[in-house]
Every structure is written in structure tokens, then in C-alpha cells.
Symmetry: C2
Subunit: 170 residues, 2 copies
């Protein structure tokens, strides 16, 4: 059945996170060395997002467009270049992503004083879709959290603060 020839390198996938290597968790015995904690944390993050992500498909928008839109909705208007930086993609990629979003009337482009730059803003429709998606994801997770006793919920809450510190150092 003659495998297809693949020559190029993979190219980065920018925002499409969560990717590979989620499968080793079961092999690593629970322990508290930094490497073991790191491994469990990594695995937990991957599995968490993989489960939550299915809800994003309900929005009917592709992942790259959804992510770019979320920047505009939750962090405010941006130029194309700023958005590309935020999403860790190249300008041509972002150019196409915003063309799709504009086509779907989820964002608007406006001229700025600097004639080279464009100002991208989420429309009311785009904002609505984004908040609905966030609500779906977070409700799904909150439902799972609710099964935890209050005391442990609190311990988890405190640990998230630690986690946020760690992430800033990665």
C-alpha cells in the first residue's frame, strides 16, 4: 500500500496545544520527585483539555479562529501583528484566520492613524459566541469539580494559585 512520501518538516502548530505525549502517565509510578510531579501535572493538563475541547466544536468555529477571537473578546482590540504574536503564529497565518472571522461577521476591521495597521475588534455576535463557549467549557468542568468535598475543593483552589506561579516560570 505504498506509504506516501513526506518530505517537509512539521511546522509549528501555534495554538493547537495539548498535542502529543499524553499517554505515559500510567507508566510513571506516583511519587514526589520534581520529575514525577511534573509528569503527572503535564499529563493531567493534557487529559483535562482533551475532554473540555469537545465542547468547543459546538460553536461551529475552527480552533484557530476560536482562539484568535477569544483574544479579541477577552483582551480587547488588537492589530493583526499583535494578534499573531498573542497566538504564536506568523502574520500570513493570522491574515487568513481573520479573513474567515470577518467573513462570519465575528470581527470587524477598522483603519487606524497608521495607515499600515488595522484594528481588529470582536463584533457583538463574536462576543456572544465566545461567552457561550466559555460558559459551556467551564460548566462542564464545574460539574466535575462539584463532586469533590468542600475541603478538598478549597485545597485544589489554593493549589491553582501555586500552579499559576509555576506556569509563569516555565
Amino acid at each position: 500500500m505504498a506509504p506516501v512520501k513526506h518530505k517537509s518538516r512539521p511546522a509549528s502548530e501555534a495554538f493547537t496545544a495539548g498535542t502529543a505525549a499524553a499517554h505515559q502517565a500510567a507508566l510513571v509510578a506516583a511519587g514526589s520527585s520534581p520529575m514525577e510531579v511534573a509528569d503527572q501535572l503535564h499529563s493531567a493538563a493534557i487529559h483535562l483539555l482533551r475532554r473540555l475541547r469537545v465542547r468547543d466544536r459546538e460553536s461551529g468555529i475552527g480552533p484557530a479562529q476560536l482562539s484568535a477571537l477569544s483574544v479579541l473578546v477577552f483582551s480587547g482590540p488588537r492589530s493583526l501583528g499583535e494578534l499573531a504574536d498573542a497566538e504564536q503564529v506568523r502574520p500570513p497565518t493570522m491574515s487568513r484566520i481573520i479573513a474567515g472571522l470577518q467573513c462570519a461577521r465575528l470581527i470587524r476591521r477598522q483603519a487606524t492613524e497608521d495607515g499600515r495597521r488595522i484594528r481588529l475588534t470582536a463584533t457583538a455576535k463574536g462576543t456572544k459566541i465566545m461567552w457561550e463557549g466559555r460558559k459551556r467549557r467551564v460548566e462542564t468542568l464545574a460539574r466535575a469539580l462539584a463532586s469533590l468535598p468542600d475541603a478538598e475543593k478549597e485545597r485544589l483552589r489554593e493549589a491553582i494559585i501555586l500552579l499559576q506561579q509555576v506556569i509563569r516560570n516555565v
Copy 2:
């Protein structure tokens, strides 16, 4: 500049996780309601994986191929259909992914008693690449964890166990 026409629906992105909606964290005041904890946790997971993911690019393998390979390396041989299920991808998609992996000599395909099924196994080369990648990711995270005082490291470690329970319920 005439936006391009986009007609089709987005199609799922299977394993390419982490996607959208990472950007609302700053808007949500720290709090301990289930929704708020869920929101912070979701955001933390996205940001964590986004930072770790850059290290995967060093492997020179695309994200979908890397993820499929990781199943074969860390969970053992699988048929194409089983691998597609594990990766939440349709069979034609997996068919192409494994063609690429086979081409790169990272996996091997073997016949089974059932003439319709194929048995996919990671090669030594594929296994090596996978473990190196895991090492890179976990080392990056372990370095960040090391900056935490021992007592807090322990609290985080305990919270990860809670987190793993929560994830099973999502």
C-alpha cells in the same frame, strides 16, 4: 482586500488540544465558586501546555503524528481503528498519519490473524524519539517546579491527585 469565502464547517481537530479561549483568565476575579475555580483551572491548563508545547517541535515530527506515536510507545501496539479511537480521529485521518510515521521508520505495520486488521508497533527509533520528547517536556516543567518551596511543592503534589479525580469525572 476582499475576505475569502469560507463555506465548510470547521471539522474537529482531534488531538491538537489547548486551542481557544485561554484569554479570559485575567477578567475573572479570583474566587472560590465552582465556576471560578473551573475557569482558573481551565486557563492554567491551557497556558501550561502552550508553554510546554514548543519543546515538541524539536522532535521534528508533526503534532498528530507525535501523539499517535505516543500511544503506540506508552500504551503498546494497536490496530488502526483502535488508534483512531484513542486519538479521537476518523479512520481515514489515522490512515494518513500512520503512513507518515511508517515512512519515517517510527512505526511498523504487521499482519494479524484477522486479515482486515493491521497491527501497528513503534520501532526502536520511534520509541527513542518519544522518550526524548517526554524528557524534554518534563524537564522544562520540573525546572519551573523547582522554584517552589518544598512545602508548597508537596501541597501541589497532593492537589494533583485531586485533580486527577476531577478529570475522570469530566
